[in-house]
Symmetry: C2
């Protein structure tokens, strides 16, 4: 039976999950995979954590050098997260010819090119299933299940924290602040939630997924990003009444004008398969030219779901002795020949607080018309004396036109302010 030695760098949530799966399922993997997998080395400063997981002190390493010089280690699992020291550790592992399996989206999104170059030099494997959408094997599906397709679009709920918050806001009419507090209490959001709520985490993931989907390097800098901190519960309620559900989507599209990749709060139709993906669940919806629509749904985070993805890579790497590299030119700053859409097209939802007076609606409608934006739906509600709320849904328009119009609307004396501004995907 083939023996496989694994090192784990970092025993945080995911590292703990990986350790648990590899040790508790040792016999199961012998039986079902014909592999005898052993955790040979663990690098973790927090010795108490290691002890609480039952890691024997004999396998505890004191430095990355100790890990990579261990001849029994074939595969190095990096589950530290963040860029440093993860980047240095992964580079050292690859330089020593070890195959690397990582769950680190930030590292991968930012340093994929550098890591891959090092891996190629040493003919070492580089696997990253766990970097995107936790337990859902989306990377494997893109690499080995959809090759017959030119992928038209990828849309995903790829951050569980924000999906939990938005679900809570919608189901309980809660404010962003209250929903965030609840998410923090339950461990779905970090004490410092910026990476999730400002959309950075989703940006890393969609940059990786779009690169694979469109066979072109999509750098983090190519992704338009907007988080959910500005979302008001009033907009969620208005959307609901008009047949929309609000999600933070990662969106990648191949258009005639180039690749269009974004992360922002998005209204989708209630009937959309993504609309019913609630709480901390994740889902990715793909359209391929042969296969049509496909959706994958599951847990995007957590010790065991993400651990499942890491271990799946470990087993794949061990069984197939292969090195998966990007099927595109993996340039640090993208490829010059790849065109990106800078001025994308979208439908828009706007909520404005306005003066309740004759002619206001016509003035506002005129501003849209001047901006070359046609309106699909308009809803005016009296709010108090002299004040009303106007909600508008537009037909598809250019983002640049919308931004200019937004500026002009905010300057109208009849408009107290644009209070809600959300893009729509239909």
């Amino acid at each position: 039976m083939k023996k496989v030695g694994v090192a784990i760098l970092g025993l945080g949530v995911v590292g703990g999950g990986v350790y648990e799966i590899l040790t508790e399922k040792k016999e199961y993997f012998k039986k079902t995979q014909g592999l005898d997998i052993t955790v040979e080395s663990v690098l973790e400063k927090n010795k108490a954590r290691a002890q609480s997981l039952g890691v024997k002190s004999a396998v505890m390493a004191d430095s990355i050098e100790e890990v990579i010089s261990n001849p029994n280690v074939d595969i190095v699992v990096e589950v530290i997260g963040g860029t440093e020291p993860a980047r240095t550790f992964v580079l050292k592992a690859l330089m020593s010819g070890k195959t690397v399996v990582t769950s680190n989206k930030e590292l991968f999104a930012k340093y994929w090119t550098e890591l891959e170059e090092e891996a190629k030099k040493m003919n070492a494997g580089l696997f990253f299933e766990a970097s995107c959408v936790g337990g859902v094997p989306i990377i494997r599906v893109l690499q080995d299940g959809m090759q017959a397709n030119e992928i038209r679009s990828i849309k995903g709920i790829i951050n569980g924290t924000t999906n939990y918050i938005l679900t809570k806001m919608a189901s309980e009419n809660a404010s962003y602040e209250d929903a965030l507090k609840e998410a923090q209490k339950l461990g779905y959001a970090e004490f410092n939630p910026t990476a999730d709520v400002e959309g950075f985490d989703a940006t890393y993931k969609i940059s990786i997924l779009s690169s694979l989907a469109f066979n072109s390097k999509v750098c983090v800098e190519n992704v338009y990003r907007e988080g959910i901190t500005g979302v008001a519960k009033e907009d969620i309620a208005y959307g609901k009444s008009m047949g929309y559900t609000l999600k933070l989507l990662g969106i990648g599209k191949k258009t005639e004008n180039g690749i269009d990749v974004r992360v922002h709060p998005t209204f989708i139709r209630n009937g959309d398969p993504l609309a019913s993906v609630s709480d901390s669940f994740n889902a990715v919806h793909l359209v391929g030219d042969s296969v049509g629509e496909i959706m994958l749904y599951g847990r995007g985070a957590g010790a065991l779901p993400t651990g499942s993805a890491v271990v799946s890579d470990v087993i794949f790497a061990a069984k197939h002795n292969e090195c998966y590299y990007a099927p595109f030119k993996n340039n640090e700053k993208g490829n010059k020949e790849t065109k990106f859409v800078t001025d994308f097209t979208s439908m828009y939802y706007l909520r404005m607080a306005v003066k309740d007076a004759a002619g206001v609606l016509s003035k506002i409608a005129g501003q849209f018309s001047k901006g070359n934006i046609s309106l699909k739906e308009v809803k005016q509600t009296a709010v108090g004396e002299n004040s009303a709320e106007i909600v508008v849904i537009t037909h598809p328009a250019l983002e640049s036109n919308m931004q200019k119009t937004l500026e002009k609307l905010n300057k109208l004396s009849e408009v107290y302010g644009v209070k809600g501004f959300i893009r729509i995907e239909e």
Copy 2:
């Protein structure tokens, strides 16, 4: 660049899709996969069909012998369907050392062992992604994305024809016969619809999927089968009013008493992720012990979706030069050590036409009680003079107890007949 020669056996719907993808995407596959794939040989009696697809007569073969003796053919794609001549052709291809890619669920479910033995002898690859759920890469996910999991259950809408019919019956309150006619008109159902509507097609698929999920050979004979021909629109309507959607499910469960595999019409809760899978869409829901819930959703049939799965296997086989064999003892008649549940446990829905008289309900309830079945919900509706309808939903009960009780209920003088009988999965 690696050259790959492909032979296609059969130019039906799927064969046509495979031919189209391989020829139209020749340049795309060179660029994205580094493979120069050429259709070197086609076996199809219907020369007019071949001509209409633009197949050059030079590649048309007259016999399987001509196909397999062609030294340019590396991979043989079998998309004839049915057992013969597909079985003989596939065996001959494997015996000559060619890798085989098949979309043939019936062939694979019935002759997997025989085909695999032949493949192993010759070190030839044997791929079957397209045999289950068309364009959805469920086989790849089971083999290479879920290895870290012991799978607890698999539930799937794995037959598009019956899902179309049931969706139609539910949305338009149509009878089975009318919905079937509509499905036939649209090409979703065959002129002879038996394989689909009686559940045979789903049985082949769930036998393959359960085998992979549970690492144990599940033969077609191990699968309990019941089709949708007995489903009345009245039951769909009653179900709806009680919060249930009716689907033909393929179900596989790993229980303490063994593996439980079935195909039958099933009520699921409206909130179940599978409940919103409509029309001819397919979906598979899995529960793994590490990953939790996962669902895959997409087109289960059609020229291009199924063609996409076939071509995905062709590319995988060509790139990795590998032979995927079953990760379990692949015995023709299953393994003696594998235990199967013969008397499964389920919840039940029953609709009875009864005499509208005092004491009827108590007599019926007494019969359930004698059968060791406890009731969860009871609904009685007067229908005409002297007659009423009683709908019952039970708590989980043994199928054997339910069958005995069913027989006794039908014998009660107060019961005109059990008109509806549907299992429930919650």
